[in-house]
Symmetry: C2
Subunit: 378 residues, 2 copies
């Protein structure tokens, strides 16, 4: 490069660095303001996620950006990332306690990952939290005495047995579970407890930094009015509640969760048996290719028992897995015949069935792929 150009480039880069340093100061100020907002929300019991405020704020900034010739999508993406941080810091301030007159919250399996997360959230909201884990069953009666709520957070395979083992609970105590199937645990809870019963499925892993925007599925059991405080408390933590009949929930989980885990498992086995060279595969990595591999590989960083539970516990998973096999064999026959026309015809039918969702999924995943590419290092 010519010396003059080189100096000019250095000068410009220096100015960009100055802009970026100003950005740091802005972020510092913003985090302080957000902490103050968190303190007020905490005091007043306002949910940390305010969808309307968020949407109107984004719309205003997008319009201003447009007027200034700044790409609106850039501004929206940056603000969304900053808001994620706000939710995390608002969480640390603690939450308003909604039910001030109820007894302790007992978390059965509270030493597990999901149990710990809920123990932390209840504690941050000022409730007395008691943990009932494997080794505590000798004290179960004492721990549950006067309980305002008992939360079951144990592996699916143990849920029903653990529910059956509970000591008698106070009549007004809310009995609820966090299992990823809902029909069987709900039935088991309704059987052992005559008071309020509630089934929840938190649709996120225990490693989320906050509950903001996360979904919790709510399957009602008995005496809805008696656990409104608890649903309100979860809303304050930032989650969105989605009510559904337990059977509908379980069916949806089979179709996506259980079957996708199962096919990802088979894919992992396939890669191993084909002696795939992962290092080499990643060198060819396009964002989509890498994401495909990541969606398979991520499974194997986790607890096999958890996945075995999810796959084996779904009542109709086996039937669905057999249906999938039949479809795979059909498609393989097309491949064997070299029948591209049949493949394309079937493809078009499925595309028609997906309708507008196909395009929606394409554009959503395109955005994720851009983010994946942003993070790539040279």
């Amino acid at each position: 490069m010519g010396e003059i150009s080189s100096q000019a480039l250095e000068g410009l880069r220096h100015k960009i660095d100055e802009v970026d340093q100003e950005l740091l100061h802005l972020l510092r100020r913003r985090l302080d303001l957000v902490a103050d907002v968190g303190a007020i929300k905490h005091k007043e019991g306002v949910p940390i996620y305010a969808p309307a405020r968020e949407a109107s704020m984004l719309a205003k900034r997008r319009a201003e950006a447009e007027a200034m010739g700044v790409p609106p999508q850039l501004v929206e993406d940056l603000l969304r990332r900053m808001m994620r941080e706000s939710y995390v810091s608002e969480k640390d301030v603690g939450f308003k306690r909604i039910a001030t007159d109820i007894g302790p919250v007992v978390i059965v399996g509270g030493a597990g990952k999901l149990g710990s997360l809920f123990a932390q959230l209840f504690t941050l909201s000022g409730y007395e939290v008691r943990i009932l884990d494997k080794e505590d069953w000798g004290d179960a009666e004492t721990l549950c005495a006067g309980a305002g709520a008992v939360v079951i957070s144990v592996p699916i395979a143990l849920t029903e047995a653990v529910i059956a083992r509970l000591p008698p609970l106070p009549p007004e105590c809310v009995l609820l579970d966090l299992t990823s199937v809902k029909q069987a645990p709900l039935a088991a809870m309704l059987k052992v407890h005559a008071g309020p019963v509630l089934g929840l499925h938190p649709m996120f892993g225990p490693d989320v930094s906050s509950l903001a925007k996360q979904v919790v599925v709510v399957c009602h059991g008995r005496q809805e009015q008696s656990y409104q405080w608890l649903l309100e408390q979860i809303r304050i933590w930032g989650a969105r509640l989605h009510e559904a009949p337990a059977a509908e929930h379980d069916q949806a989980m089979q179709l996506v969760q259980a079957m996708r885990h199962f096919t990802a498992f088979v894919y992992g086995v396939h890669l191993k048996r084909e002696h795939a060279d992962l290092e080499q595969l990643l060198q060819f990595s396009s964002p989509i290719y890498r994401l495909e591999l990541a969606m398979v590989g991520r499974l194997f960083a986790q607890d096999p028992a958890l996945y075995a539970d999810i796959i084996f516990a779904q009542p109709d998973a086996l039937a669905r897995a057999r249906h999938y096999l039949a479809r795979y064999q059909e498609a393989l026959a097309m491949l064997e015949r070299g029948d591209k026309a049949a493949f394309c015809a079937e493809f078009d039918e499925v595309a028609h069935w997906f309708g507008d969702f196909a395009e929606q999924f394409r554009s959503e995943s395109a955005n994720m792929l851009m983010v994946a590419n942003d993070g790539r290092v040279g």
Copy 2:
């Protein structure tokens, strides 16, 4: 909410809005500076993606953030998003032309999506670009006269026939293709042209906003020295080149690209035949669940012929698809026996085989899932 709290909250939100407006002004300034950088890079022929500069800049900002109590990851994510925009705007300035003494670049299939992207990049770099599409074969000889490079960008199924149909090319002309398989097209090109031959596989879709950080696989054909200018040109566009033998490339593509497309196709058929209610499934959407659906659904927003080509063109895809079937049947047998122990044992073996990659994939995908959640609307 109490009136005083309500006023205080309003005041704080007003201040946050002011901070965000200052952010807009910073962005405007940054984009202007980046445009100036782009102009210099254009003049000097410096690649738009500068990995070392990017890494050292991020390290400095992270350290400064740390010292100010601002989360370093927040700063890194914001800067990466801003840099993506920079690459796009630098692209618009145009690129330095590396080979000043070569004839026109002829793009066979230049009216297609990928062909158009390359036509645009060559044009932005000051080359004379000629398009040879379906209806232009009558003028093929005229179009190829004096060509410096002929780029084949047609569907896989047509590649070899199109290559065979080319008129004789000038001896120093570079003949190259952009197909997603490499062995057969390379062999076909070596057969018809005695001069420099090169196989490329751009590992990205034609809808990328810039080539920054994208991978282009390079399979050498003949007379490497004669097409160094072209590789250098692609580097200036921002891409990373990955050299690989054609056979190794094709094998990797079968394992991931063809098989993942094929299983996603089967999954789409499965969802349709099981009468899945997509609207309802999305209401249960956790980020991972939604991403799993998106990775299937995105396929069906695209051209069936393109996917049929990719799947049917891979020489060993059929054998691999049969292997996968066998593994699926094995896993299904575990499910039928209710044999969780065998499932967990196999899972552990695969996890061991994935090694550190499993954790790497888990953490990469966790970050993507957070981004997916950022974009969720109430």
